[in-house]
């Protein structure tokens, strides 16, 4: 992350790198003629044994020629590893591509550091610097980077992404959101093969973080030399034949099929011909009927360990496609999985895995959950019915209901005692932690609850239920998706506590499509979801801190208003508008201290407004890890920090080999 308003991020430089510098410096002093060659020969790079054979046979250039001049040096979590083995894992269903992404798909220009302290570090880029007004960014790539097919990775590939993909209205009608500032796409300017400049219309201080977040991966996914053949600009004559051969309707479909476009596209894992910068490349693709997806080592991968061993250590990935989560759980128990968190890390499975630990040779690796809440109940503050709107907008009503919940009892009953009472607020570990927002109104106090509720709606009917402003009983549905998350039990218990203070709350379980239909058309009374954006990602997923978009369940029309720049939805309250201004200011600022300060102002308003009611912060999540798999880091579980890949899965290794 930028330390100053105008700043530079460069490679930290670890042991082996300094040696190389010293060596080259020495040679330069003697007036060496060819720096490139000496730099390469000054360090003994090593490679996987399987590649030794290929080099010997002459089908692959030597490792020093495949690596860039300044490879990224990854310090292993425990120690330098050994080559070999297959990482076995599993997916569920036909659209689980994000597990592949989380295993092996994160190679942006800048990356999060392993600890997710909020810093960004050079990855494919060697250096990034920005102008004082945060409008102009100059990025230097590492010298001599190569795609998995051996072709060079240069500024032109980035230019191709910005100009021909992000800027192509036919392909992406709405542009690429994270590359825009002031409603316009950043402009690309090539300086030389490894240096380029991106200029934004308005200041865009969080651009380096955007590059490191999951969507930033998009920028380094498309090799111009391969993907340009699917674009009319570059291949006018041959395109029709390619479209016909692929059996698609037009060139945009062809392009998406061959090169993917989104970070999250299924297509990323469907085309073995597409060159990548990732540690493993697809071998058996994730297509329709596939029951096993495999990936193999990328011989041109640009990272090494401190001893100069080219990464990754592990040869292959083998990912089974299962129809059911339970099958995957059984696979773990049967010792058929080397590392898995997705789908199996429900708390209910802890005991199952503990029992099987010895036989399956696994252990559980705990990591913090970046979600900030298990259950957030959002009243619809923009309800279509004016009476309900008035009730829900009464802050005393919401405060009273919050006091009425015995959160600790819910935590014990529904979450095996994990977590602590918490509102919709960033976690303690987050740089944006705000104690007032997190802890206000969380104690269980029926007297206080009734006091606030009496202030709001004192009248009651014969059965003891409170009456609303229209003289009718206050009664509403809380919409829950039982299929997702653990929030059904906690919501049901909450509704019982609310009944006890005279508010007729009913839990309504719905299918998730119906849930989305209702909330998108603003037809819900109250709705439940889990809270993301608990750690550093609070900055990028402020869903429950202010009306950010249509996932903000307490005011979907306000969220739409913000997301569409005032073109859709409904004009929000003055407080929410103030927050929107603050957020825009945060995005412009390149100064971390200022970003934090503005974020605190935004969160303070959220605390004043008390938009939504949270139950508890989730306890740690775990991964099931085979005992012979090493260098696993207890990473945070998040989306913005795609775990575990952002903790460098390329340095996982097996010892003893399987």
């Amino acid at each position: 992350m930028m330390a100053h308003a105008a700043g530079t991020v460069t490679d930290a430089g670890r042991g082996f790198r300094t040696t190389r510098r010293r060596a080259t410096g020495l040679i330069a002093a003697f007036g060496a003629l060819c720096l490139g060659a000496t730099a390469a020969s000054a360090v003994e790079y090593k490679q996987a044994p399987m590649l030794d054979e290929l080099v010997k046979a002459g089908t692959l250039p030597p490792v020093a020629e495949r690596l860039p001049k300044d490879p990224r040096v990854v310090t292993p979590v425990e120690k330098v590893g050994k080559y070999g083995g297959t990482w076995r894992s599993g997916m569920v269903g036909g659209s689980d591509r994000n597990w592949l992404f989380r295993m092996a798909g994160y190679e942006p220009l800048l990356a999060w550091d392993r600890e997710w302290s909020g810093k960004v570090i050079p990855n494919l880029a060697a250096e990034i610097s920005n102008s004082a007004d945060a409008k102009e960014y100059t990025i230097k790539l590492r010298q001599g980077l190569k795609w998995s097919d051996g072709k060079p990775f240069t500024s032109d590939d980035i230019g191709f992404f910005i100009n021909d993909i992000a800027g192509n209205k036919e392909l992406l009608a709405n542009g690429v959101d994270w590359m825009m500032s002031g409603g316009e796409l950043g402009k690309f300017e090539k300086i030389d093969d490894t240096t380029f400049k991106i200029t934004f219309k308005e200041p865009y201080g969080v651009f380096p973080q955007k590059l490191a977040s999951v969507y930033g991966v998009q920028m380094t996914m498309m090799a111009k030399h391969y993907c340009s053949q699917f674009q009319p600009t570059y291949n006018k004559d041959g395109l029709d034949a390619l479209i016909k051969e692929a059996g698609v309707a037009n060139w945009t479909e062809l392009f998406i099929k061959k090169c993917a476009v989104d970070t999250e596209a299924n297509e990323r894992w469907q085309n073995p011909d597409r060159p990548t910068m990732e540690p493993w490349v697809i071998k058996d693709p994730y297509i329709g009927g596939a029951t096993l997806v495999t990936l193999k080592r990328n011989p041109y991968y640009f990272k090494v360990d401190p001893e100069g061993n080219q990464l990754p250590y592990i040869d292959d990935l083998s990912v089974s496609v299962n129809a059911d989560k339970q099958t995957l759980v059984l696979k773990v128990v049967n010792g058929e999985i080397d590392y898995q968190d997705r789908h199996v890390n429900a708390n209910a499975n802890r005991a199952v895995f503990a029992d099987a630990a010895e036989k399956a040779q696994i252990h559980l690796s705990d990591g913090p959950n970046a979600d900030m809440n298990t259950t957030i109940i959002s009243f619809n503050l923009t309800h279509k019915d004016p009476v309900k709107r008035e009730i829900f907008n009464n802050k005393d009503f919401r405060i009273g209901l919050s006091y009425a919940i015995d959160r600790q009892a819910i935590i014990d009953a529904a979450f095996v005692g994990q977590g602590e009472p918490w509102q919709a607020a960033p976690r303690k570990e987050s740089p944006y932690y705000n104690e007032r927002l997190a802890k206000q109104y969380t104690e269980y106090d029926v007297a206080k609850a009734n006091e606030h509720l009496d202030k709001a709606f004192p009248k009651k009917d014969s059965e003891g239920f409170r009456l609303g402003p229209d003289g009718k009983r206050i009664s509403f549905n809380i919409m829950v998706i039982p299929a997702l998350g653990d929030f059904l039990d906690s919501t049901q218990l909450t509704a019982q506590y609310w009944q006890a203070v005279g508010v007729d709350a009913k839990v309504q379980t719905v299918d998730r499509t119906l849930f989305y239909d209702r909330k998108d058309s603003n037809d819900h009374d109250a709705a439940v979801f889990l809270g993301s954006g608990g750690m550093g990602d609070a900055l990028f997923e402020p869903t429950f801190y202010f009306p950010f978009w249509n996932e903000t369940l307490f005011a979907v029309p306000w969220g739409n208003w913000y997301a569409s720049g005032g073109k859709a939805g409904e004009e929000p309250s003055a407080a929410a508008k103030k927050q929107m201004d603050l957020y825009r200011e945060i995005l412009r600022s390149a100064d971390v201290a200022k970003q934090n300060e503005l974020m605190q102002q935004l969160l303070n308003i959220a605390a004043d407004e008390f938009y939504a009611i949270g139950i508890n912060s989730p306890g740690p999540l775990f991964a099931a890890v085979k005992n012979n798999l090493h260098n696993v880091y207890p990473r945070p579980f998040a989306w913005t920090y795609p775990s575990p890949v952002a903790s460098n899965t390329e340095q996982y290794y097996f010892d003893p080999p399987r």
Partner: protein, 328 residues
């Protein structure tokens, strides 16, 4: 007879048209569409999409069109052999289902063979030796078999095979053979895994068939023609197998039409539990995510199987049973 077959055949066309409409409507019935469920999916994986992106998706998949238009596009393309795109897998439906339908057919026919091979002799034995100890044992076991839910049996068998036989969990192949080309070793591997779904799927079927066979045969055994045969000195085995058993088969033939689709669809839950590469799990998934072209294609194929099966059983019945007269 030929006229009957021809008329029966012609009736298949309107029936087919009707079932495609039903299939399409069923898939459209739940609220929202694929994009809604896709959005929900993204949101729970912590990466929600904004509404502009979702609208663009709707446009791309033609989901903004009225239902009637969507239906005719689908049927029109299907008749040309284009089953449409699967939204979820992002690939043509035909790429997805043919392999799966092949595996489904394999499992189905192995199961059918297994069921018939066991059910007929046991059913005959049970009828001929009515009220013997053997009959009571068979009766008890078949009630037990009918009462056991297949998915539960699948879980138990899978647990046992993992715990005691050291098999890999789920699927029809070991990991080494999943993506391997066909070879003798792969066939052996398949057979090693195939018995689990075959047994699981077959148990309920065997139990039911044994009861039906027993009841039918008992009806026939007391009839005068059996007595006549016996009086004329026919050996008992020949007598039973040649006459009453043939008559008792009548209900099997008339239900052959149902067997085909039941074998294809009845395995949905079991194959999900066992993670079989058959059509069941993807049908469930397609219905859950409203992946309408994929779901529609699978439902359509099942309907076609019902139609073909019913035609087959009608024709067979007309041949086999002289008591049935279709022609006036």
């Amino acid at each position: 007879m030929l006229g009957f077959i021809f008329r029966r055949f012609l009736w298949m066309f309107p029936s087919f048209f009707a079932v495609t409409v039903v299939a399409f409507v069923i898939i459209q019935l739940p609220p929202g569409d694929f994009v809604t469920s896709y959005a929900a999916d993204l949101a729970t994986s912590g990466s929600p999409a904004d509404s502009a992106t979702l609208d663009a998706l709707r446009l791309r998949y033609g989901l903004d069109q009225p239902m009637v238009v969507q239906y005719f596009t689908w049927v029109g393309n299907a008749l040309k052999g284009d089953l449409g795109m699967s939204f979820e897998y992002r690939s043509p439906v035909s790429d997805i289902i043919w392999d799966r339908l092949g595996m489904t057919t394999l499992v189905a026919f192995c199961t059918l063979a297994f069921v018939w091979l066991i059910a007929f002799p046991v059913g005959i034995y049970s009828a001929v030796r009515q009220y013997s100890i053997g009959d009571y044992v068979v009766t008890f076991l078949s009630f037990l078999g009918m009462a056991t839910p297949s998915f539960l049996l699948a879980l138990v068998v899978m647990y046992l095979s993992v715990e005691f036989l050291g098999y890999s969990v789920g699927g029809l192949f070991s990991p080494d053979f999943v993506n391997a080309p066909w070879s003798w070793a792969r066939v052996v591997d398949l057979v090693q895994h195939l018995w689990i779904p075959v047994v699981v799927l077959g148990v309920a079927g065997i139990a039911a068939l044994v009861r039906i066979m027993r009841a039918n045969l008992l009806d026939e055994l007391g009839k005068p023609y059996v007595e006549t045969g016996r009086a004329k000195g026919l050996p008992e085995t020949t007598l039973i197998l040649r006459y009453p058993t043939r008559v008792a088969l009548n209900p099997f033939i008339s239900t052959v039409g149902w067997v085909l689709p039941v074998l294809v669809s009845g395995d949905v839950i079991v194959s999900s539990v066992l993670s079989l590469p058959t059509s069941g799990p993807i049908l469930i998934q397609a219905l859950k995510t409203q992946d309408m072209y994929l779901g529609g294609a699978l439902i359509m194929f099942q309907c076609i199987l019902v139609l073909i099966g019913t035609l087959m059983s009608d024709i067979l019945l007309a041949f086999v049973d002289p008591r049935i007269r279709y022609d006036n």
